[in-house]
């Protein structure tokens, strides 16, 4: 069953007075199955961020629908959407988005607190997760005291603590060095193996090569898709690189 369905989503930004309009997404149509790991790739300005914002219900599409578990939440009110968001989605951002005045532990607990959970059950949820992500020793530290990789793992823990339907990741390796990035991608793969649906937006060919399926977006449309099938990661990486090259050539031709 598709956990996420994106049906002909279109997004047009109007400038003030409505004279000019910019089409960020023309017609995006795809779906994500439960337990799938999908990467979305594209140049800057291809509409990736807009798409992610719409998927995250932070923005509303001009036309089309986004269904999570068959439910359309673009029709909901702001407050309900926020609640929907925290119940169904987990986020990882390029710049971590940790609150600098909370400890690592409290950052991870944040979604649970927002959900109004009892504080006694929180610790039971945090403990296995931080152990798995290897940040168990750091939980009483503040974000500025730990490395970038550790911050991102904190963000992963925060995203997963509510057991979301979908984990949305926006350039998760963007601010990390290659070692920390590889580390993080291994962890995401492990998380995926345990059954988590992941949707990741990225620039990085290497990061995308961990996914089951890579979608390429150009000029607001899904331009190309690659399925892993039984390929090894290195073979997948080659395929992605080829596709990126084609994508770039296409970009040049169209100029």
């Amino acid at each position: 069953m598709a956990v996420l369905e994106v049906e002909h989503v279109k997004k047009v930004y109007k400038t003030k007075m409505g004279i000019d309009s910019v089409t960020a997404l023309k017609d995006v149509h795809f779906s994500v199955e439960k337990g799938e790991f999908v990467a979305i790739m594209g140049e800057s300005g291809s509409g990736k961020t807009t798409l992610l914002n719409i998927l995250a219900s932070l923005d509303v599409p001009t036309a089309g629908k986004v269904l999570v578990n068959g439910k359309d939440f673009s029709a909901l009110k702001d407050n309900e959407r926020a609640i929907m968001r925290r119940n169904n989605l987990g986020f990882i951002f390029q710049d971590f988005n940790l609150l600098d005045n909370f400890t690592i532990e409290d950052n991870i607990k944040l979604p649970l607190v927002l959900a109004g959970e009892d504080h006694r059950t929180m610790d039971d949820k945090v403990a296995p997760l931080v152990k798995e992500l290897g940040i168990a020793d750091l939980i009483h530290k503040y974000p500025y005291e730990v490395s970038g990789g550790q911050k991102q793992r904190t963000a992963v823990a925060r995203a997963l603590i509510t057991k979301p339907q979908i984990l949305l990741a926006d350039e998760p390796t963007g601010a990390l060095d290659s070692k920390a990035a590889t580390n993080l991608m291994h962890q995401l793969r492990d998380i995926h193996k345990s059954g988590q649906t992941i949707l990741m937006v990225t620039h990085s060919n290497v990061a995308a090569s961990y996914a089951d399926r890579v979608m390429f977006i150009r000029d607001g449309e899904v331009f190309h898709q690659i399925y892993r099938g039984n390929l090894k990661r290195s073979e997948m990486l080659d395929k992605i690189c080829d596709a990126v090259t084609v994508l770039m050539r296409g970009g040049e031709d169209s100029e």
Binding site: A82, R86, D100, D106, L114, H119
Partner: protein, 693 residues
């Protein structure tokens, strides 16, 4: 570099920062206006015209205006420097960018110069214009407060205008120099980079916490235990210092302590509202505790000032009536050349000649002295003693005079007295030692009918009235006193005048009486009333001005605090929103947080005032008779009004804060603004490049 372009840059710079610039200019203009009004009133022909005072006591008012304007001047220096610093803080990034884009420091200084010139010119010109037009209104207000008939005509003081312009220009020049120095000393990259570096959670400073608790406790204790004016005079300033110290210490250490305690309580802490607020507040308090404490102290000062001025005005009539039970009161010394009957005759005679009809005439002679109160009675107050805490004024009157004066029967044997005491509880049959001799109190008498005895300049101290059998008894009572002591036999004659007494009549009465009777004090109620209102009306007027100015300063500090905190919290709430904090919840959190930051200082201020009201009342009693009820009413009214105004400010500024932090509707606007400044910078870049080529 093209100056035209630089000026344009200055204009856009101001426009883009209008939220910070406008309040600054407005507050500065108000300060200029207040200063100008006070200064012009000094020159006003409605107060002093060609060296002649327009009414009795106008010279006091001129003096108060002078003192007031000095105070305003000092505060305006502080406000303007603070406001300037805030405005500059917001502009640092932009200025850093100018540097990166290739503007020389000279060019940046030029831009700053243009900006400062615009801001200062609009504040000074605006303030002086407003001051000139409001001047007349202020004269009318002042005349109303001091109960003078209205006057016609405008007046304008060139001296005040020049003084104001020069004074504020100097302040702005200092600001400009400060701004240029910050630009010159910093390099573009450091100015540009204003990213927050992570910081440690604040620790509770236990020594400070203990000092704070002790200081507040001491201050409050001193304020509460004060039971007479002398104690109040001695301990008020110590109490103020203690409380100020304690306020700062408690705001800095106490708030963190409470928040830490709350955080330890997991049941409380892990709730949406508390979770976010406590952590935010903890860091915010770390930076703002001293600022909030200052707001608290400023608010306390405003309320204090207003309470004093208001109660002065509210108690005015009551005071005049109690100080002057009769329209005209004549006091003088009884000696071998002048007996009470001599004085009576002289008064009758002069009244007849000048044509004043006296009513309710009364006259009495008594002995007046000061004494110290001891455990077993009253003793002589040593001349070289400056310990006034036990001091009381004592009036000794013979039974004969007492009967004549009050119309009440008195029959006393030697060794017996009637006693009235304003401080002690007197019971019939008490034994009391007076100047070494023991007396038994035959009867306790009350104050009624005795008021006219009392010398209003001795109001500060307790009063004792002793009625003795006759003159021999009186001499016996005073036998053991030393000759060097202060006491004298005095006469008092008081009456109400049927018609108003003119200045000339009064002068004649005064001259005649002093010619016949030696040194005589002759006071006329209407004259005293006028001088009372001039004196206290003047203080009230200046007090209101100062209070208004403090309030404006408080508002400005709060507004700027809200704005800078809004910027800091913006990112935080974005993250929270991503994590699923709904708009409604965010509103709730923001509201409770802002409310706390806002009302903590003012509530503390009001608590201070409540504790201070006792000592303050006693302190005020040094200059006038203070009725507890009226005074407490004044405290309540002023506190409520202040709270109301403060709440209004809260509503306005919290809206601003909310717009900055969470204004989705405002987002478009800010995008537009960014784009504008971006375009501005671009044109800059090109011109910089052109210049280099």
């Amino acid at each position: 570099m093209n100056n035209n372009l630089l000026s344009k840059l200055a204009f856009t710079g101001l426009k883009n920062n209008k939220k910070a610039v406008l309040p600054y200019v407005l507050v500065s203009a108000i300060t200029v206006m207040v200063f100008h009004i006070l200064q012009s009133l000094i020159d006003s022909k409605f107060l002093v015209n060609n060296g002649k005072t327009a009414f009795y006591g106008a010279d006091y008012i001129v003096l108060f205006m002078g003192i007031g304007s000095i105070a305003v001047g000092i505060f305006s220096v502080i406000f303007i420097l603070y406001g300037n610093q805030f405005v500059m803080k917001g502009r640092k990034k932009e200025i850093g960018l100018y540097g990166v884009l290739g503007l020389s420091k000279k060019d940046v200084s030029f831009v700053l110069f243009i900006e400062n010139l615009i801001m200062s010119a609009s504040a000074i010109v605006g303030g002086i214009l407003a001051g000139t037009f409001l001047n007349k209104l202020m004269v009318l207000l002042l005349y109303r407060i001091i109960r003078q008939p209205m006057v016609k005509g405008m007046d304008f003081s060139l001296r005040a205008t020049i003084l104001t312009a020069v004074f504020f220009s100097i302040i702005y020049a200092v600001c400009f120099i400060y701004n240029v120095l910050t630009v010159r000393l910093g390099n573009p990259i450091t100015i540009l980079k204003s990213e927050n570096i992570g910081e440690k959670e604040p620790k509770v400073k236990y020594p400070l916490l203990i000092i704070g608790v002790l200081a507040i406790a001491c201050g409050y204790f001193l304020a509460v235990i004060a039971d007479n004016t002398m104690v109040a005079l001695n301990s008020l300033f110590i109490a103020i210092i203690f409380v100020t110290l304690g306020t700062y210490a408690l705001f800095i250490a106490g708030t963190i302590f409470v928040l830490k305690m709350l955080k330890k309580n997991k049941n409380y802490y892990y709730k949406t509202k508390h979770f976010i607020s406590i952590s935010n507040l903890m860091f915010r308090m770390k930076h703002n505790a001293a600022g909030l404490a200052s707001i608290c102290i400023l608010s306390t000062a405003v309320i204090l000032l207003l309470v004093c001025s208001t109660s002065l005005m509210m108690l005015g009539e009551q005071n005049i009536d109690s100080m002057f039970p009769k329209d005209v009161m004549v006091r003088g010394v009884v000696n071998e050349n002048c007996s009470l009957s001599d004085a009576d005759n002289a008064v009758d005679e002069v009244l007849k000649t000048v044509g004043i009809t006296a009513q309710d005439r009364s006259s009495v002679s008594f002995y007046m002295d000061v004494c110290d109160v001891e455990d077993d009675g009253l003793s002589v107050h040593p001349n070289d003693s400056f310990d006034f805490t036990k001091l009381r004024s004592i009036y000794i009157v013979t039974a004969e005079q007492y009967e004549l004066y009050t119309g009440k029967q008195a029959s006393l044997a030697p060794g017996e007295i009637y006693r009235y005491s304003s401080a002690d509880d007197v019971k019939d049959g008490d034994k009391i030692k007076i100047f070494g001799n023991e007396y038994s109190v035959k009867k306790s008498i009350d104050e009624s009918g005795l008021e006219e005895f009392f010398d209003s300049s001795m109001r500060l101290f307790g009063k004792e009235v002793m009625v003795v059998a006759d003159n021999n008894e009186k001499s016996a009572m005073l036998a053991d006193c030393n000759s060097e002591e202060l006491g004298e036999d005095l006469f008092y004659i008081g009456f109400n005048a049927k018609d108003d007494i003119s200045d000339e009549q009064l002068q004649t009465v005064r001259d005649t009486l002093s010619g016949k009777l030696g040194t005589v004090m002759c006071r006329y109620k209407e004259e005293e009333r006028s001088s009372f209102y001039s004196l206290y009306g003047g203080t009230f007027f200046v007090g209101i001005f100062l209070a208004a100015l403090f309030l404006i300063a408080t508002v400005m500090i709060i507004f700027y605090k809200q704005m800078s905190e809004g910027m800091e919290d913006k990112k935080r709430f974005e993250i929270l929103s991503n994590a699923g904090l709904s708009d409604k919840e965010a509103r709730g959190v923001i509201k409770s947080q802002v409310m706390l930051m806002f009302f903590l200082p003012v509530c503390t201020a009001i608590i201070h005032i409540i504790f201070a009201s006792n000592i303050l009342r006693l302190f005020m009693a040094a200059i006038l008779i203070v009725d507890t009820f009226t005074f407490n009413m004044a405290v309540a009214i002023v506190s409520l009004v202040f709270l109301g105004v403060y709440a209004l400010v809260y509503r306005i500024t919290s809206k601003q804060y909310y717009n900055i932090v969470y204004g989705e509707k405002k987002n478009n606007e800010s995008i537009k603004e960014n784009r504008e400044s971006f375009v501005g910078n671009n044109s800059y870049n090109q011109c910089g490049a052109g210049n280099r080529a």
